[in-house]
């Protein structure tokens, strides 16, 4: 790759990055239909910052389900006890791997904001699956926390335009995310 090509490439990368901030495109999903942030806030049963404690997969009603237990750290919507369980389709039991693309998987110790959804008498699920999952990362050096939506984790390469684009919430400082969340819960237009 020549210097000129390289320079062009880096410009594409830079502009692609800027596009992240500029774009909040409305897309619909194949397994998922696009839920705007305000819709997530509106349709969720509860919204909370949670810490994953454990995850167990088991057979239930003819399918493999994974039940993940969370400690509730901060409740933004709804009434939640100190511990909640979230049940999602898929998991690993006795030599069988059941997988559904788009279903979030959680690891003990990680912290997330989840938009929870539940029918009466059923365990919580995550609203819109990857769309309702916002993972929190902490910079080990500064301690600063950022939030990234699962469905925004994959920037998209556009073969025609030869550049990348991203949608959704990605690497937002947690304070900004909280502000957006609370604004949406108050039904303010963001």
């Amino acid at each position: 790759m020549s210097y000129r090509q390289r320079r062009r490439f880096f410009w594409i990368m830079f502009l692609g990055g800027l596009a992240v901030v500029a774009l909040a495109a409305a897309l619909s999903a194949t397994t998922l239909s696009k839920l705007r942030f305000a819709e997530l806030a509106q349709k969720s049963t509860a919204v909370a910052r949670l810490r994953c404690l454990s995850a167990v997969s088991r057979w239930e009603n003819g399918e493999i389900w994974t039940e993940t237990r969370f400690e509730v750290l901060e409740t933004e919507k709804g009434l939640l006890p100190g511990l909640v369980s979230v049940r999602m389709l898929g998991g690993h039991v006795e030599g069988l791997h059941s997988r559904v693309e788009g279903v979030p998987v959680f690891r003990p110790g990680e912290e997330v904001y989840l938009f929870l959804w539940g029918r009466a008498g059923e365990p919580f699920s995550v609203l819109g699956w990857s769309q309702g999952t916002f993972r929190i990362a902490q910079n080990p050096e500064t301690g600063a926390e950022t939030v990234t939506q699962d469905s925004a984790a994959m920037p998209v390469f556009d073969p025609q335009k030869q550049h990348f684009r991203r949608d959704g919430i990605r690497n937002w400082p947690v304070v900004l995310f909280q502000e957006k969340l609370r604004g949406a819960l108050m039904q303010r237009r963001w």
């Binding site: 390289r6 619909s28 194949t30 791997h97 693309e101 994959m154 920037p155 998209v156 990348f164």
Partner: protein, 405 residues
Amino acid sequence: MQTKARKFFATALASLYGLCFAPLAQAYAFNELIPDVRQPASVSGGSACPVKAHRLTAAGSITERWSTALGTAPVTIITLDQTPTGRLNEIEQVITTALGVWTGVSGTTLLPASLAPLTRVAAATSCGSDGVNSICFDQSDSAFTPGVLAFTRVITADKIGTQLGSGPAATQFGQILDADVYFNPSDSQVTFATPTALPANQKAYDLESILTHELGHSFGFSHSAVWNAMMYPFAPAPGTITGTRPSIQQPDAPLGDDDRTGLRVLYPDPADTVHTGSIAGRIVPANPLSLPGAPPGVTGIFGSHVVAVDSTSGAVIGATIGGWSCAAPGPAQFDGSYKIDRLPVGHSYTIYAESLNGVVDPSQVSDATATLCRNSTTDPGWPPLQGCVVPAVNASFTTRTRPGP
């Protein structure tokens, strides 16, 4: 072959206000798993290297049935023909066409003859972990939440002999034992229209596009982040379709090149003389001290997307998530390796390598990176020498290139 393999080297990336602007692309990806090496080698193969989930492709080995039960309250499947028989025939044509999209790709062993005749079943609740591949349009499932249109649940065996329901026992590692497609039957805001009904129902999703995508999962695909790929996770907006409609001349027309390459990697045809090119290399940091200290043994950048773009057409021909390699008996080595296979020969390619983002958990981006390791923590009794820990994605790099030798 004029393919130019280029080496990439990484340098530290300065992030801007905490936002990492490095773009990345994930092209085709697979549902992968690690055989259970706690079992005897006769049933586990003895290797802890990841294997791709796949179906058997011998003649007539891929069975598929569909439930003719269609929701009435609400009506979610819209057809042009409103007669009971006509509706079913129209839907069945969509299923047949969608299967044909995948069996229409050249250079694979997934052939039209691989498919057993499509069958019908009357029960609405025909989907379940029973070893029978089913498509259901009116089966409620508590996995659905608002915003979920359809999904495919794939069950794969990690050792030979595993059996599910009435299905045959697994004869290969990573064999898909059951893949069921569920369409959301109970959201009154969501409808799916057949190709003939779509023009008059612009608020409906294209049934053929969504089913083709879901069947891609049933053949072993994960999601792709290439805009025009069938396995791109987001469906076309209501009233529109993915790619172009298939035709007799080009049954795989809806697919992107990325999908085709992925299928050739999943189901390679030994007789294929066109798609035999590969590009391989390593992504390593300019400063080795920038590599993570834990887990031990990381010698290259992990968690990078390497994309091969046809220099002439600009099409994304294939890509991979780089950063690791594995040779039997495993486990995976995090040495920065990448390899893109089944590329058409006689073309020139430009390679892009991009970092994932630091806050991105591997499981967010691809199950492929999240399932590279098993160990005694994840699986009690796992042999220590075949265990590993997936390192954190290395995000702090940008790439520069230098000409190959």
